[in-house]
């Protein structure tokens, strides 16, 4: 077994050990009244739940093993510099457009935060490792610059945006991969939109309205709630409008999947971290973040892909 394969196997083993500790040791206890952390796990089904953790890790290992020869996983000088540039750009843009430096007015509860196009573009252009670093480290520095403090699960979620955006490199047939992405994303969009209609009075946890002095407690507007559908339609328009330009279509499609899965991961993890219900996590957190991001992706990512293609043509690299 080579060194990197051993390292991956050890890392996954550590993760499995951590889950075992949480589920079988901490999870066996009753939740304390008023305790900040609740790790209690229904012990009747804990074996089955743990089996799913094992299956998930095996899938992750299998994906790595099958694609380990793929150049997408290479980290050389270029990737190191691109990682740093992506993360620094994402941090600077996140800081500037988080509503404290440049206050760009919101449109129907949708704040204009275009920075998310950076991990999507860097993931698409330079691979999943660069994308992950750009999203995760960029988000961490962006939060630190603002003084918000860090939210590790949202940093990982942002990292996943870039990571998944770069996963198109693992597929031989781009068109087929885009069709798969389309079906998966479409299914998730319909599911979350349905959750919105069932929970229309949920507060928008991410929205700050300076005019009305409301932070995190205004009921989600219909536009914010359905922005994921609007974004999905825009992405489809770009996908088929640029049918002849596979680069743009690939970038927006995989960026969309990364956005949905990455922010979905972060929002769902708040069920355990912040004690939210599924409705609050999905309708209150996921939709107001992921929906607008799709709109930004549909507009800004094609601009970046086009400009980068020109640079590549000029430089020959």
């Amino acid at each position: 077994m080579n060194k990197s394969l051993t390292n991956i196997a050890i890392s996954l083993g550590v993760v499995l050990g951590f889950f075992a500790l949480v589920m079988f040791v901490l999870g066996a206890g009753e939740a304390q009244e008023g305790a900040l952390f609740n790790f209690s796990v229904d012990q009747a089904t804990v074996g089955l739940r743990f089996l799913f953790v094992v299956i998930g890790l095996l899938i992750a290992f299998a994906v790595y093993y099958v694609t380990k020869e793929n150049s997408a996983w290479e980290v050389g000088t270029r990737q190191v510099v691109w990682m740093a540039i992506g993360a620094a750009l994402y941090a600077v843009f996140s800081w500037l457009f988080n509503g404290t430096v440049f206050v760009v007015p919101s449109v129907s509860q949708v704040a204009i935060r275009p920075a998310v196009a950076i991990p999507m573009f860097f993931g698409y252009a330079f691979g999943p490792v660069v994308g992950f670093f750009t999203g995760a480290v960029g988000n961490m520095f962006g939060d630190a610059l603002t003084g918000f403090g860090l939210s590790p699960q949202w940093s990982i979620g942002n990292g996943l945006i870039g990571f998944i955006a770069g996963c198109w490199m693992l597929f031989k047939d781009r068109k087929q991969s885009m069709n798969t992405v389309l079906y998966v994303s479409g299914g998730l969009v319909v599911l979350t939109a349905l959750l919105y209609f069932l929970n229309r009075n949920q507060p928008n946890m991410l929205f700050f309205d300076p005019d009305n002095n409301i932070f995190g407690d205004a009921a989600i507007s219909i536009f914010a709630g359905l922005s994921i559908v609007v974004g999905f339609i825009l992405i489809l328009a770009v996908r088929f409008g640029f049918a002849s330009n596979e680069n743009v279509a690939t970038a927006v499609m995989w960026g969309m999947l990364g956005n949905i899965l990455g922010l979905g991961f972060a929002a769902i993890s708040d069920i355990w971290i912040n004690g939210y219900t599924l409705a609050v996590a999905v309708v209150g957190e996921f939709l107001p973040a992921a929906g607008p991001n799709l709109i930004f992706a549909a507009i800004l990512v094609p601009l970046l892909v086009g400009a980068y293609a020109s640079v590549q043509r000029q430089s020959g690299r």
Partner: protein, 290 residues
């Protein structure tokens, strides 16, 4: 330049320690404070923050701008929470009213009212202390850590050479891209573009960000070729990397790490036992008739 790391060598408690030890302590401090809303526990963290701040060697003149931003930001959010009562609903459910102010006039049928409750007031204070402590501890780092040591510090924290160097470059690029952004904004302003006055619907507004967003990003990518060439010429990544600076960890660093880890473990234990939740002094509740 929007962001500048104003590091210099100074008599500082932060620089007295090994950067790895300080970052480990900072990580423990940060993860620990997140577990508390109880003002009494938060004051412990605030006391640490004040000790660090007043022994950081960073002068008021140096950090005035950053500090004013933090103060205005934290104060604004705390006051906002106090006035609206929003945001604290996750940590308290019952409110004890101290006083209700009602305006003698109405605007389109709406009468402005201000309800002062013990919980709102204390939540605002707790929020101020909590966010203020995190922000101050964070903002001191770029003033105190030598940029030349970023790479070796992250390497010493367990990252491999490539990722440690990427973290190093990230921290160095942030001020540069901040400056590039400002230059681009200024150049576009000279042509009549106003970022603060974007008009049109959402899609139109996002599209209009292109003239700022694209040049800064593409300029950064083009500029990266020079750095890549320079690194390739020095055979970056060919073999194990050697670092010019060597960090030495001694007893005081181990004590600091131990202190940070102890705080973190105790905080976790207190959280499991149900301590650290939002707290209001009994005296105030009695004053409010609770």
């Amino acid at each position: 330049m929007l962001v500048a790391w104003k590091y210099r060598k100074r008599r500082s408690i932060i620089q007295w320690f090994d950067p790895r030890a300080w970052l480990t302590f900072y990580g423990c401090f940060f993860m620990s404070i997140l577990g508390f809303w109880d003002f009494r526990f938060l004051m412990f963290f605030f006391a640490i923050t004040m000790i660090v701040l007043f022994n950081s060697g960073v002068t008021w003149k140096e950090m005035r701008r950053a500090f004013l931003f933090i103060i205005v930001f934290v104060f604004f959010f705390s006051i906002l929470t106090f006035l609206t009562g929003r945001g604290g609903s996750e940590v308290y459910t019952v409110e004890h009213t101290i006083r209700d102010f009602k305006a003698s006039f109405s605007i389109f049928g709406w009468t402005p009212t201000l309800k002062i409750t013990v919980e709102r007031a204390f939540y605002a204070v707790s929020q101020f202390v909590r966010i203020g402590s995190i922000a101050i501890m964070t903002i001191l780092i770029p003033y105190s850590l030598n940029p030349a040591l970023y790479g070796i510090t992250f390497k010493g924290l367990g990252l491999n050479d490539k990722f440690a160097y990427a973290m190093d470059l990230t921290m160095r690029f942030i001020p540069t891209f901040g400056r590039d952004f400002q230059l681009t904004v200024d150049a576009q302003r000279a042509r009549g573009y106003e970022l603060e006055k974007l008009s049109g619907g959402l899609i139109e507004q996002v599209r209009k960000m292109g003239p700022i967003f694209v040049p800064v990003t593409i300029h950064a990518i083009i500029g990266s070729e020079d750095i890549i060439d320079a690194m390739d010429l020095r055979a970056f990544g060919v073999g194990p990397r050697t670092w010019i600076d060597v960090l030495m960890r001694d007893t005081k660093d181990r004590i600091l790490i131990g202190f940070g880890v102890a705080i973190f473990i105790i905080s976790l234990a207190l959280g499991f036992m149900g301590y650290g939740k939002f707290w209001v002094p009994e005296v105030l509740l009695k004053l409010a008739g609770g």
